[in-house]
């Protein structure tokens, strides 16, 4: 949980950005407990048509109902909850689902830094990422 001074600093930063004419301001305010970042495999990230992505399913079974499609960074439940080749995950709308483990790999910074990816609650009340 962030301290109040940290939250005030974030709010001030957003205010300054809005005053500068930026149409949107989105800041991470605190981590989502119990989840870590993983990445989709590179082939999936290059797909330009969403329906060609690996599905997020309601249960760890290929016959389970389609919940939706993943984004590039997948929030997986930690400790890892794996069943029948599927991993439990959290979608950006807060919905839980399952994705085939074969489409995931450990998250690594793309820019060769020591940055950490943190699944986060965002300043607009939704979910998102913070990579620092």
């Amino acid at each position: 949980m962030l301290g109040s001074s940290r939250i005030i600093a974030l709010s001030l930063g957003c205010t300054l950005l809005l005053l500068a004419g930026q149409a949107q301001c989105l800041e991470a305010v605190r981590p989502i407990p119990g989840y870590v970042c993983m990445s989709l495999i590179p082939e999936d990230q290059l797909v330009t048509v969403q329906s060609e992505l690996p599905p997020v399913l309601a249960a760890p079974s290929p016959t389970a109902a389609l919940v939706g499609y993943p984004s590039a960074i997948v929030f997986v439940k930690w400790p890892l909850h794996e069943a029948a080749g599927y991993v439990e995950m959290l979608r950006l709308n807060g919905q839980r689902g399952w994705i085939a483990a074969s489409h995931l790999r450990p998250w690594r910074p793309l820019n060769n830094t020591n940055a950490k990816c943190v699944p986060s609650f965002m300043s607009d009340g939704g979910l998102g990422t913070s990579i620092r």
Binding site: G13, A23, E27, T48, S71, A72, P109, G128, S130
Partner: protein
């Protein structure tokens, strides 16, 4: 085959279809007709001095099942001013909308829309976007960012909307699933270099982007929200839309993608969002769907 833009009994029926879509062509044709009439002596007619401004042709786009789009000459933007919109038309600062952007159903004027409307295919693109429930300003902002609304050819990404073939095909399918009558305006095969076809496909792709972001928890995605989906592929686009402002773009995009999109190595997500807002002005905070 393109639909006819003007009725067959109009004075412009003899013009080729493309010319009939251009307000400038109509003005020229009107001027020619007036000049021809003036050159023929007519008995019993009395010369009348013009009192007031000359009569102007009002081009319109008839679309079966849809209201006409009427655009008085001299007006670049057919939509009334929206009092709730962020900033005034022509304001390049991007307005001052908050994270949620404009209200649903908001079709506000924008600099981008004016840019698209002066293209020969702009009026048809606006009418088609509206028939799909897409904010014409969102479509206009896309072509402004991709090509300056010019029909740029060549490469993997081509046309005014700079689409890849897979995205074009899929966007078209989405659009036609909503309004099947649009198929009559789409050229067969790869129509990315035909701006009318490409605009329909781009509108369909924007719908996909809006739906993906809605599924990611953004109730009413703005043009700025959907920009990353259109620009960087679906999975990366959704991620960037939900990224922390102060994160580096290099944490979300590969070096090759960064370079191809002229994103500097130290650019933050917030700075990228600001740069897009600056380029498309008031459209940035408007919702994609109306």
């Amino acid at each position: 085959m393109k639909p006819r833009m003007f009725s067959s009994h109009s004075a412009f029926a003899a013009l080729p279809p493309r010319s009939r879509t251009r307000p400038g062509g109509i003005v020229a044709a009107t001027a020619c007709a007036v000049a021809a009439l003036a050159a023929v002596p007519a008995s019993g007619q009395v010369a009348v001095t013009l009192n007031g401004p000359p009569v102007q042709v009002r081009p319109y786009v008839p679309e079966p099942g849809l209201p006409d789009v009427t655009i008085p000459l001299g007006t670049l933007n057919p939509f009334p001013s929206d009092p709730s919109g962020g900033g005034s038309p022509g304001d390049p600062s991007g307005g001052g909308g908050g994270g949620g952007g404009g209200s649903p159903g908001n079709v506000a004027p924008s600099d981008s829309l004016s840019t698209m409307l002066i293209q020969p295919w702009g009026i048809a693109a606006v009418a088609n976007a509206q028939s799909l429930g897409v904010n014409p300003s969102a479509l206009a902002a896309t072509c402004v960012l991709e090509s300056g609304c010019q029909n740029v050819s060549g490469g993997t990404y081509t046309g005014a909307f700079q689409m890849g073939l897979a995205a074009y095909t899929d966007g078209l399918a989405t659009a036609e699933s909503i309004n099947s009558s649009l198929a009559s305006q789409v050229v067969p095969g790869d129509g990315r270099s035909d701006p009318t076809s490409a605009a329909i496909a781009a509108a369909g792709y924007l719908i996909q982007g809006a739906r993906a972001l809605q599924a990611a928890g953004i109730a009413n995605p703005t043009v700025l929200d959907v920009r990353s989906y259109y620009n960087f592929t679906p999975t990366i686009g959704v991620q960037v839309a939900r990224a922390n402002d102060s994160d580096s773009m290099s944490n979300y995009l590969s070096p090759a993608v960064m370079q191809a999109n002229r994103i500097t190595p130290n650019e933050t997500v917030g700075q990228w969002r600001t740069s897009i807002s600056t380029k498309i002005g008031t459209a940035a905070g408007q919702t994609v769907m109306i």
